[in-house]
């Protein structure tokens, strides 16, 4: 909370999350258009459809051009010898402290869009919580997984 956290996400994360936002919004747009067609056919009121279009447009702007950039800018984390600290959030800032002793396992995963940009997300799992660092470069994620794995193991024995 008081110290500077040195690590950030990979810059390509902005592109990847833009692409995934565009895809999901196109899908929603198709669904709403289907609803529009159905409403025209059945002579339903069109007001909710226009509202839905408005919401989709607004969310498209927010989640494609604004959120990814600020998400990238705000997300910071650092791996210390005995703990992991994560700082995140655009409006609501959150600091989290996960001791290595509490880490159970680390997972690396990536979806099709993430893979295209050679990105991967890293999940640090404790007995009660799961902390995701999404949008690291594939190799960085792999290296970090190894590192946290080692640190978590080393600590386990003398605690």
């Amino acid at each position: 909370m008081q110290r500077e956290l040195s690590q950030k996400l990979h810059p390509d994360y902005i592109k990847a999350s833009k692409v995934s936002s565009i895809i999901s919004h196109v899908v929603t747009l198709l669904l709403v258009s289907g609803w529009l067609g159905f409403a025209l056919w059945k002579d339903w009121t069109l007001i909710p459809v226009w509202i839905a279009y408005g919401i989709v447009l607004l969310s498209f702007i927010v989640f494609t051009w604004i959120v990814p950039i600020y998400e990238y800018r705000s997300f910071k984390f650092d791996v210390f010898e005995e703990e992991l600290e994560i700082y995140s959030g655009i409006l609501f800032h959150s600091n989290k402290l996960v001791p290595m002793v509490r880490v159970q396992h680390v997972e690396v995963g990536s979806g099709p869009i993430m893979r295209k940009y050679e990105l991967a997300s890293l999940s640090v799992v404790t007995a009660a919580t799961k902390h995701e660092i999404k949008g690291l470069h594939k190799e960085d994620a792999e290296a970090l997984k190894q590192r946290i794995g080692e640190l978590a193991k080393v600590d386990e024995q003398h605690d």
Partner: protein, 552 residues
């Protein structure tokens, strides 16, 4: 299997009854319509009933016959299943808790079931269940398993810790078991608490001797025992304010009764509807002005009667639930048991306690009483066990000293509270919600909805109380968090039991240098959270929890 045992023979009877119970609806319908079923009165009908009874007996007998369990040197083995045979092995050192329960049916026959819980597995489902045992034998077995667990853990602590999966590993008799306890707990997602302080100092010879004499019950005199008195229990139930359970119970009874009435007297409601208008005419006559006043009075009276009944019911339910409450400690094992109809009993290790929780409902807070609970890891993640249903607050330190000697509680009334400027953060969301409700009500009912405005001062007062009750305190390696939803709840957490620490700020909080603290403890689904505490009080907590730069 060295010395396999069956369940109590009464298991056959219990199975028999349970099978019948499964078809109770069908049987009731048949009995009601017995007049129309000529077939049943013929010789074939009687033969069919007898055949069904015999079939039921066979179906009850086989599960008993095929259920065998045996206590080996280092594990419990259970064989069961009629068509699909199953063998289950549970190593003593993996046992987390052993519970003895007495549902009503078993209680009638003086029986009990024994449930064994291990970390992992399906939440809420015990790893193994010995479904019907004599009550006295179940208690003996509970003690015995508890003892075997302690000795096998002690043995294991002496052995070299190897990181390998223990459960699947075949073991040579006489050789100490492998694997570190923390390792297993980690793997199963239940506990990261490596502390397993058991009697390591026992000599190995004594160990082997003890574990070979598993057949004999081990009776120990507890170091501390507390039994609730009738007067205390009555006071506890009077102040329990536990209406929700009673209301659900009432609704359940009501809907059930409704169905039964519908089935037995299909015309009942129609008849009642016929009766009421005439009653109504007689009482009220046709003076229309009296109508609203009388109805309101009637509704109020009915509400009062129902509420009174619910209150009474809640008292009775509380008495049934916590009646015969007792807790005892022998060395590091705590055992709790309570319940008049359904007897529940839990045994757990003192070191498995993740947090101590003090819960005061408004009435008890005013009277200076509280309920004490502990957060323990069991197969049910939501488990908070009551270790004292009704305790005078100033007695808590001495009682805790008896129950958990290495865990003194620091009961302060003055904590680091949120500053008055944080009231906005506490009141904002609930007030907006109430305003929305008022708006909706005004739209629906026009002027009549003005009554809803009364909710606003209520919400403002309630959120004020929530803020005044909140607070954090850090002393002697123990973090104290206090908050209120309706009851005032205080959490006492040790550093080693905190899984993650989180701090959050909203833009409004940042302006006033406030933060919300989230403390995640094992065994609890949601983090313990206190809203809007000043940064200056939270920074020391952050530093205390952070491990960087300082070794433990």
């Amino acid at each position: 299997m060295t010395n396999p045992r069956h369940l109590s023979k009464l298991d056959i009877l219990i199975n028999f009854i349970k099978n019948i119970r499964a078809f109770i609806a069908l049987i009731v319908i048949v009995i009601i319509n017995i007049e129309k079923l000529e077939f049943l009165k013929s010789i074939w009908g009687i033969a069919a009933v007898i055949a069904l009874a015999v079939l039921n007996f066979v179906l009850s007998y086989l599960p008993w016959k095929k259920f065998l369990f045996s206590l080996e040197q280092d594990r419990l083995i259970i064989h069961r299943g009629v068509l699909k045979r199953e063998e289950k092995t549970i190593y003593y050192n993996r046992i987390h808790s052993v519970n003895v329960q007495q549902p009503l049916l078993l209680r009638i026959f003086g029986l009990a079931k024994l449930q064994i819980e291990t970390p992992g597995g399906t939440p809420g489902v015990p790893e193994a269940e010995l479904r019907v045992l004599k009550h006295s034998y179940a208690l003996t077995l509970q003690q015995q398993l508890k003892h075997l667990r302690t000795t096998s853990l002690a043995k294991k602590n002496e052995a070299v810790n190897e990181a390998s999966s223990l459960a699947a590993m075949p073991q040579v008799e006489g050789v100490a078991t492998t694997s570190d306890p923390s390792e297993q707990h980690l793997a199963s997602g239940q506990s990261t608490e490596p502390v397993q302080r058991t009697e390591v100092d026992i000599e190995e010879g004594a160990l082997t001797e003890r574990s070979s004499h598993v057949g004999e019950p081990i009776i120990e005199e507890p170091d501390y025992r507390f039994k609730i008195s009738a007067g205390q229990l009555l006071k506890a139930s009077l102040t329990s304010m536990n209406m929700n359970v009673a209301i659900i119970f009432l609704l359940g009874i009501y809907s059930f009764a409704d169905d039964v009435l519908e089935l037995v007297f299909p015309d009942l409601y129609d008849q009642m509807l016929d009766v009421f208008p005439s009653l109504y005419d007689n009482v009220v006559g046709d003076v229309s002005q009296q109508f609203s006043a009388v109805t309101i009075f009637v509704i109020a009276a009915i509400t009062a009667v129902v509420l009174g009944f619910v209150w009474l019911l809640s008292i009775i339910l509380y008495l049934i639930k916590f009646g015969d409450y007792q807790i005892s400690r022998s060395q590091e094992q705590l055992s709790v048991s309570y319940g008049l109809l359904e007897k529940k009993s839990f045994i757990f290790d003192m070191n498995k306690v993740q947090a101590v929780i003090m819960d005061e409902n408004p009435l008890r807070q005013w009277l200076g009483f509280a309920e004490l609970r502990v957060q323990v890891i069991t197969s049910n993640a939501m488990e908070q066990l009551v270790i004292h249903p009704f305790v005078r607050k100033k007695d808590i330190p001495s009682i805790m000293n008896e129950l958990m000697p290495d865990r003194p509680l620091n009961l302060r009334t003055q904590l680091h509270a949120p500053p008055t400027t944080s009231y906005r953060m506490y009141a904002m969301l609930p007030t907006l919600l109430v305003l929305a409700i008022c708006g909706a009500a005004a739209w629906l009912w026009k002027w009549n909805a003005l009554w809803f405005l009364l909710l606003i001062p209520v919400v403002l007062a309630w959120t004020w109380l929530c803020m005044r009750s909140a607070g954090v305190w850090l002393e002697d390696g123990e973090l104290v968090l206090r908050k209120r939803s309706i009851n005032r709840v205080t959490y006492f957490v040790r550093r080693k039991h905190i899984v993650t620490l989180g701090m959050k700020t909203s833009p409004m909080q940042r302006k006033r240098q406030l933060r919300t603290i989230n403390v995640q403890v094992l065994g609890s689904v949601f983090p313990y959270r206190v809203k809007s505490i000043a940064d200056e009080h939270l920074l020391p907590i952050w530093q205390w929890y952070s491990r960087s730069g300082k070794k433990q």
